[in-house]
Symmetry: C2
Subunit: 105 residues, 2 copies
DNA sequence: GGCTACACATAGCCTGTCTACATGTAGCCA
DNA sequence: TGGCTACATGTAGACAGGCTATGTGTAGCC
């Protein structure tokens, strides 16, 4: 998959993977790999800054915890993050309809 | 639709709209509007440079013609452009499967 | 003479993803 | 003990490609 195609959809992916559960950054990357059958292998330099951005936007909150001596920052959706996720899903449907419609049969 | 979502898919759109017919730049913009029910209103500053890029890549060729006093550069797909279009369509299907799969139900 | 539609084109900005690098712990194994 | 791998977070800077703004010019209508 070309690198740039992801653009504008990363936020949706991150919100979706956090829907209904808390995960820390590293686990988010693994969850995305799993859910996509290995197609999505996002570099940490993509994910960590994006999580910070989403937190600044108020869609995520995080707290530090320590598991077997290692520090983790665990993220979960805020109320407005859930709303943002719903909006992203709607946008995704519109987007695929429009582009798919043009690419056509 | 957010601006950035188009990224990485513009080439596919342009190739698709030229599939089986010749069009000049302005008509390409109109055709995309039409096929997308108005959702895609691409600025000329997006389309013209992209067409040049695709031509440099060997996927399009163009010739000038004059219609009622106005000059037009008319584009059509090359053989390798048709192959590129097929590849783009495959990639689109993979892309939507992956992202849609993660965004889930 | 001024307006709108048609038609092409470029310079420079913007922004989000990627590459590369930096830092540190835990646990295994030889 | 030293080296390796997996785990875990983070930043700086490069890069690309779509967008904004701007410029040029014709045709046709009123």
């Amino acid at each position: 998959m070309k690198a740039d195609t992801l653009r504008g959809h990363l936020d949706a992916l991150l919100l979706a993977v956090l829907d209904g559960r808390k995960l820390h950054g590293y686990a988010i990357i693994e969850a995305l790999q799993l859910r996509s059958d290995g197609a999505l292998d996002l570099p940490t330099g993509t994910v960590y800054p994006a999580l910070r951005r989403l937190e600044r936007a108020g869609w995520l909150t995080s707290e530090w915890d320590v598991v077997s001596g290692r520090k983790r920052r665990t993220y979960h959706l805020t109320r407005s993050g859930e709303q943002a996720l719903a909006a992203e899903r709607t946008e995704w449907r519109e987007f695929t309809t429009v582009i798919g419609g043009v690419l056509g049969a």
